[in-house]
Amino acid sequence: MDRRKFIRSLKSEIKANPVVYRTSSGLRKYSPILENAGIHHLLKRTLFGVNKKDIDMLNGKGINEALDLLLTASPEPLPPVNNYNDSNFTDPNVPAGQTWVKAVYDGNANGRRISSFKSWWTGLMLHQETSIHEKMVLFWHNHFATETVDINDARYIYKHNALLRTHALGNFKQLVKEISLDPAMLRYLNGYLNNKNSPDENYARELQELFTLGKGPKSNYTESDVKAAAKVLTGYTVNATTISSSFDPNRHDTSNKQFSSFYKNAVINGQTGTNGALEMDQLLNMIFQQEEVALYICRRLYRFFVYYEIDEATETNVIAPLAQTFRNSNYEIKPVLRALFSSEHFFDPLNRACMIKSPVDFCVGLCREYNILFPIATDYVNQYYMHDYIRTQASNMQQNLGDPPSVAGWSAYYQEPQFHELWINADTLPRRNQFSDIMIGNGYTRNGKKINIDILTFADSLSDPSDPNKLINDSLSIIYSIEVTQSVKDFLKSILLSGQSTDSYWTAAWLTYKSNTGIVVNRTIVLTRLQSMFKYLMNLPEYQLS
């Protein structure tokens, strides 16, 4: 069955969901003191998974201070390196361990470089700081979606990603301009083929439909606007040696461009010579004058960070004032994020634990929650392999980093009415369980290096692992978002206690283990029970929610 048929058949089986409570809370500032559950909620939505270090970073901070930290851009990372020389192939232009991002194109190396890029990016997520930066890079990747299989030159792909990274928390209008001039995007949406003799409307259409205005009911640009914008954008070319774009006046359409009533019948006068490049600024100014731009971007942010359903109350109380903030700040991104993440609406209990984790959030988050140790940076060959393993898992769960299904990004972020639910189906849910089973069990081994969950160390980091009740509560607060019933907790405890009803049996077993952690039999007793419990926990549907 193909995916769409499958989803249709699935939908027909699913009964209509009952109406759930709606919230009328808005952007009024949330209590300045963050309670523990509030800290966890904020961290889970802005990072990939949460670990104790992240929580400690926010402990005792008020909402303003917390957001100061979370909205701080991370330093520019070192570029990806040649991790891919092996017995079959040696890159003639890039020594092992050195970066390839400015090396000459090599058809034999290119596929390996793209894999290197993906491993590098996955690693940045796995080793992220306590900052929203990495999640915003993924947000923009989904928004300005490109596919490595189409661009097919790792150097463009890296440069594009670096661009998203640089502007991830910067100015959206500036980002749109840079994206319009980005060699990867010019290649991906054929902008470099768009010239006065044979206009290519691809980028002009997506610029409006996907990147700025969207397709909401108030976004009424016309087909002729697409054609006119395409003419404005004629003349850009890409230099495949320097991986840079430039404007070629000879390829530019110098006629006047007439826009529809949606744009108040604006005309962009044709310019000659290098002045032709100024028309792009006029086009962007015209687009960004539309209120719909800010509304559309705020809806996208909302669906990525809060929940996919936007009802009238949310549109009025959250989206509209957020969009106003966005316009007031001349499309600076941080003020919008700050307003959203400090709002009563974001912290409203009804908006907690309702995000279905994306595959990347699931896989990277799992590794971060348990502090899974990866090979160190100097062992880049093994480190990249391990990052690639995590990336591949997410890809098998239908989110292949760098290769969304189309320019529209992943359907979970736009496809009515299921949105995020599309991540979970009869194929992907068992894969998620399989991944967590592997990581809590023997782990993944390659080249003699292993990654897995060190559950004993994890348990040891909790407030009092010798008390089975505290152990369970502390663990749930880190790896779960949704509250579970006492009967679930009782069941978890029965796993730790092997069906006994006396808590002290666990306490004794734990303390015996701790008194000399080198004794295998004592270690095995607590290890197998913890593994069973956490395997069960991660197999429950509750673990899919953030």
Binding site: L10, D427, E483
Partner: protein
């Protein structure tokens, strides 16, 4: 890639993995030569084993009560001893009786559907619930850590590529089902867990009736319900379980308020519904009776009595139901607990963690006897005195595998990891009986092991009679600790002698245990200053 490497690299997942194979992902595997290796057919049998776990360490001495040791026992545990006149008698034995609350099992014994195996344990008993449970589940030696369970190793031998290529037409059903808990470590195979769990009866009825658990009326609750629906669809065995349950529309009656009976009722339904599942595990907790084990004014009542009543009534109702459902001859059951309890009771009206204890084998084809002699209770007992083991618990497993599941000896060694004594636990009339040599009843009253002098100071000579084949003589102290292995070799039939030297042991009772094929006997020796 080798199969095991393949499994290790892909999934140590128990239950979730086959969905991938049966569904979308199978295409990828179909190109692999591995799939062609799946054709090795398992042994043809419709036999089922039901394992009843009594969590907490059951007090075997108040469950199966030795009339012939009663006075000494009453002396050791005067505050909890069951009145002699209340003990249930069993046909054909004057030595052994049952706790008064176990009328169901008494009936089963008298109907020739119950076997009692005395003093089951292992050398060097461990008194930790966790470690002892692991030993019983993995069938390891006391000082050995194993990462697989005995039932898992057996199923791995039978269904050697699981989970790759499962379910299939030969084995469309779960290999093993655990009810009432998470998947038992007993079902852990060398690479993957061979079992699936129905974590509680409510889940089972939700599964077969398509009902969802409750979720809060929030956005989170809405998404949780959605994921649960998908999870139910991916329960790759969900459909076969539903279909099996649907075939059974009427069952005979079970006691209410009895969690074990609830679980066994599900098992009977699945068996009669035609699942080819070989092993079921159910459990009941609460046997850790350190205090208030009995009501002081009527010791035949109280917590332990209630637990035993549930066990007895649950198993009896299960057997009756299986008969009603015409599936009685397919099923053998056994009980076990991680350890027994001390001979001597404590002052809080309970008993502390002990060692060997009796267990039951039940079923139409269960050998109907009391296997082994009553445990010997000394005239005076210390607080740490335990029942010495007569039978290694792994002998019980091995015998069931051999006599009920027709497992050949060579395979049996792979499963049990050693050669264990074969006991007659299944009637010889059962369809799959192995060709054992004639069983000699070690209870016939003949002493085949003795020692002289007794009592002794520096050494004593043990005389014993063997019937050929492997002979083993072990000496245990009263705590169950293995002091010395005197004989462990193949020998000719005849009478032999061996000397037990006092190598500075503390004075007291020592047990010499002779094992020769399926015969064993225990000799009580007294070391004095």
């Amino acid at each position: 890639m080798k199969r095991r490497d393949f499994i290790r690299k892909t999934a140590p997942a128990g239950i979730v993995f086959p969905a991938l194979i049966n569904g979308f992902t199978f295409k990828a595997y179909a190109e692999s030569p591995l799939v062609s290796a799946l054709t090795q057919a398992p042994t043809e049998t419709d036999h089922v084993l039901v394992i009843v776990q009594l969590n907490g360490g059951n007090d075997g001495l108040n469950m199966v009560i030795p009339f012939d040791q009663y006075d000494n026992l009453a002396n050791a545990r005067s505050n909890i001893i069951i009145p002699k006149n209340k003990i249930l008698k069993l046909n054909g034995t004057s030595f052994t009786g049952l706790h008064p609350s176990m009328t169901g099992l008494q009936k089963l014994f008298n109907d020739e559907k119950l076997q009692i195996i005395q003093s089951v344990g292992y050398p060097q008993p461990n008194f930790s619930h966790f470690r002892a449970t692991d030993i019983w589940m993995t069938a390891s030696d006391s000082n050995q850590t194993l990462n697989s369970g005995w039932a898992g190793r057996y199923l791995n031998e039978e269904y050697s590529n699981f989970p790759i290529g499962y379910p299939n037409s030969v084995m469309p059903d779960p290999l093993a089902i655990q009810i009432g808990s998470f998947v038992s470590p007993a079902m852990q195979g060398p690479a993957v867990n061979m079992g699936m769990a129905i974590s509680d009866p409510v889940n089972f009825y939700n599964l077969i009736n398509g009902i969802q658990g409750t979720a809060p009326n929030t956005r989170g609750g809405k998404e949780l319900t959605y994921i649960r629906q998908i999870a139910q669809q991916t329960q790759q065995y969900g459909n076969v379980i539903k279909a099996a349950a649907a075939k059974v529309t009427k069952q005979s009656s079970y006691p209410t308020g009895n969690s074990l009976a609830d679980q066994l009722k599900i098992v009977a339904r699945l068996i009669a519904g035609g699942l080819k599942t070989r092993i079921y595990m159910v459990s009941i907790g609460g046997f850790d009776t350190h205090s208030l084990q009995v009501n002081a004014n009527a010791t035949e009542t109280g917590n332990h009595a209630n637990l035993l009543q549930r066990v007895s009534e649950g198993i009896k109702a299960f057997m009756d139901d299986l008969k009603f459902l015409n599936s009685e001859k397919r099923v053998i059951g056994m009980t076990f607990s991680e350890f027994g309890r001390r001979i001597k009771s404590n002052s809080s009206g309970g008993t502390d963690h002990g060692a060997a204890a009796p267990l039951f084998v039940f079923g139409h084809y269960a050998q109907n006897d009391v296997l082994g002699a009553s445990p010997v209770i000394p005239i005076t007992t210390g607080t740490s005195d335990n029942i010495p083991m007569q039978y290694d618990f792994r002998s019980v497993y091995a015998s069931i595998l051999k006599q009920w599941f027709c497992v050949p000896d060579t395979t049996l060694e792979n499963v049990m990891l050693k050669n264990f004594q074969s006991l007659q636990v299944i009637k010889k009339t059962a369809p799959c009986i192995s060709s054992n040599p004639e069983i000699i009843n070690a209870n016939a009253g003949k002493n085949i092991i003795s020692n002289y002098p007794n009592p002794f100071q520096t050494s004593t000579t043990i005389s014993y009679e063997t019937f050929g084949g492997h002979a083993l003589i072990q000496v245990f102290n009263t705590e169950g600790k293995l002091i010395k292995t005197l004989v462990d070799m193949e020998m000719n039939a005849g009478t032999h002698k061996v000397t037990f030297e006092n190598e500075g042991y503390l004075p007291g009772v020592y047990y010499a245990r002779l094992q020769n094929n399926n015969i064993q006997q225990i000799r009580t020796m007294l070391l004095v200053r």
